[in-house]
């Protein structure tokens, strides 16, 4: 249990007032239209949504995750948190293409890229999946906050889950994405300052940078300072094969849409940027901050390792960064640290809440139920959806311990078999809705086989996860490639319309030539 002084409580109340103020200040802007409630009218300069990219991807469980891998693997642990690097290529490829589509959501983009019944099926599937995922993520993050409050104040876990998520829902419901992005801006600054302050204090307590280096040498642990300390090609804790797989998944994934689970929330930030250029810089700079933050954390965690080198229990050392803050910061700054944890928590929760409400409103209500709905009604439905997602997320949060194992499996399989199709849908004109749908279905079945059933039957060895990725990617291709080639291409009118709007990269020759034939596109090479 932690004892707060008066100054600590002042920090916390000031922060809550500042945050709630965002809701009140941007109420009028948020209620103007569906576009304002979910995309801030598509008019934001790049640095605002970029701060939101950074703030959203700093959740309360992120420092636990980063601390866990850095404590265990030293600086090589930063690569476990390097998945955000999909934005390196995405910022200049898929972000550019998606921003031009003007789709509110990835589900809507599916309807623009693929036509007819297949496109509608994909849009419906994506909508349902994303509404489910937002509730699941909310529950996951909410219960993590509940556990932190239990550790700090002895409150029951449900109280931290329900209390802070509800507080957040107030400003999300009031001003929609305007409130989210403005609050994220100040929350991002507070969180970044706290990360730097706590890290400095932690490193100082460990003897400063030189002290850490010297102590690691004395302990015979200097390898922890080498970010490329591979343990072999396929063997050990950090094989080169794992590193290469991770780099391929993260970096090459940037050519596609949805290759990383964070894509869906970033897609909203991309559309809220005022131009294609702003969208590119939103994604690039927001993620650069995420990567910078991970390295600052890594430095502090090495300090924590020097201070407490013999912790074996992962659940204990994963709390390392929080311990540095609560045990080493002076009185008065502890409240600031807790306010920063609140900032970290609320920025993630608010983004996910607004994202889920956008799928429910735009892709479910507006698209299927009431296409003629007025803007006023759409905003009202947006608010109601926010409330419903909040309430359902509580149920997920409270039963999280029981379902976590299954849902981690669900998250993992969603990444492996559909990773390549997520790229193909962007870069290959011939890839159609049936091919993409079949990849999702094949992936669901094959992942059970590869991960559990075949190893249990002794047909396949128990493969490490990075090898499972390659096996699943290869096996699903045997299904979706034939399905694609045996079914008709998308309607050419539909493809030409999509091409003219989005100008995708890759293998779009037949569509481009058709657009030129119709006089829609100037043949730049010939005209030059």
């Amino acid at each position: 249990m932690i004892h707060f002084a008066v100054l600590d409580w002042i920090w916390i109340f000031l922060f809550i007032i500042l945050m709630m103020g965002c809701g009140v200040l941007f109420y009028r802007l948020g209620k103007r239209s569906e576009s304002d409630f979910f995309l801030a009218g598509r008019g934001l300069p790049w640095w605002l949504p970029a701060s939101s990219v950074y703030a959203t991807h700093t959740a309360v469980d992120t420092p636990m995750w980063v601390t866990g891998v850095v404590y265990k693997y030293g600086l090589t642990g930063i690569w476990y948190a390097f998945f955000a690097a999909w934005c390196a290529i995405s910022a200049f490829v898929s972000t550019r293409i998606f921003r031009r589509s003007l789709a509110y959501t990835q589900a809507e983009w599916q309807g623009l890229r693929f036509g007819g019944l297949g496109g509608e099926l994909l849009r419906g599937w994506m909508t349902g999946w994303q509404i489910f995922m937002t509730m699941f993520n909310m529950g996951w993050i909410g219960i993590a906050m509940g556990k932190i409050c239990q550790y700090l104040f002895g409150w029951p876990a449900w109280f931290g889950l329900v209390g802070f998520s509800t507080l957040c829902a107030v400003y999300v419901m009031t001003s929609g994405y305007w409130g989210v992005v403005m609050a994220d801006f100040q929350q991002g600054i507070i969180a970044f300052c706290a990360i730097i302050v706590v890290s400095i204090w932690g490193v100082k307590a460990a003897g400063g940078p030189n002290g850490i280096v010297d102590k690691l040498a004395v302990m015979g642990e200097s390898w922890r300072l080498n970010p490329f300390h591979f343990t072999g090609l396929f063997s050990g804790d950090f094989p080169l094969a794992w590193f290469i797989t991770m780099m391929v998944i993260a970096v090459i994934g940037g050519f596609g849409m949805g290759t990383n689970i964070d894509w869906y929330v970033e897609a909203q930030r991309i559309q809220s940027a005022r131009s294609v250029r702003d969208a590119s810089y939103t994604i690039w700079w927001g993620t650069a901050l995420v990567i910078l933050r991970n390295s600052i954390w890594a430095i502090a965690i090495l300090g924590f390792f020097v201070l407490f080198p013999n912790i074996k229990d992962a659940s204990q050392y994963e709390m390392g960064w929080f311990r540095l803050g609560f045990e080493f910061l002076p009185v008065g700054l502890v409240g600031f640290f807790f306010a920063a944890i609140l900032a970290i928590h609320l920025s993630t929760v608010s983004s996910i809440l607004n994202l889920g409400a956008m799928y429910a409103t735009r892709d479910l209500y507006h698209h299927y139920i009431n296409p003629q709905a007025s803007q006023e009604r759409l905003v009202r439905v947006g608010r109601l959806s926010t409330l419903l997602i909040l309430v359902f997320s509580f149920f997920f949060g409270l039963m999280m311990n029981e379902i976590t194992k299954w849902l981690i499996f669900a998250l993992w399989i969603m990444a492996a078999g559909v990773w390549l199709p997520n790229i193909l849908q962007v870069i290959w004109w011939r890839f159609n809705a049936w091919g993409y749908l079949s990849s999702w279905i094949a992936n669901l079945g094959l992942s059970w086989l590869v991960v559990w059933i075949l190893p249990m039957a002794g047909v396949l060895p128990n493969l490490p996860d990075y090898l499972q990725f390659w096996v699943l990617m290869g096996l699903t291709a045997f299904i979706y490639i034939p399905v694609t080639l045996l079914t008709k291409p998308e309607n050419m009118d539909h493809l030409v319309r999509y091409y003219m709007m989005c100008r995708p990269l890759g293998f779009w020759g037949p569509v481009r030539r058709e657009a030129e034939k119709r006089g829609l596109l100037l043949d730049v090479k010939r005209s030059a």
Partner: protein, 98 residues
């Protein structure tokens, strides 16, 4: 025209060109540099300083190459965006898909 183009017409900026591919190559390297350089420079290593210095050069170069093109694309696209938004609202109606 030199190796890298910095003046774009709306038509030429719409094409995927050498400049895009150079940026696609540099950008992930810059992220690797930020991750490694930040951690190592804090421990006062020379290699950390070198990595971070090269990373900064990469970031400047990346923006120098791609910014004129992105500006041209954005200007041209914003001109068309209003019409595209109207079309989007029309084509996304469920009834029209039937």
């Amino acid at each position: 025209m030199g190796l890298l183009r910095r003046k774009w017409t709306p038509e030429s900026a719409e094409q995927w060109t050498r400049e895009d591919w150079i940026v696609i190559l540099i950008s992930p390297l810059a992220y690797v540099g930020i991750a490694v350089g930040t951690a190592l420079v804090f421990f006062m290593t020379t290699i950390g300083l070198i990595v971070l210095g090269i990373t900064m050069l990469f970031i400047i170069l990346m923006h120098w190459i791609i910014d004129p093109k992105l500006k041209t694309i954005s200007r041209e696209y914003e001109r068309k965006q209003k019409q595209y938004l109207i079309e989007l609202e029309q084509t996304q109606r469920w009834e029209e898909v039937q």
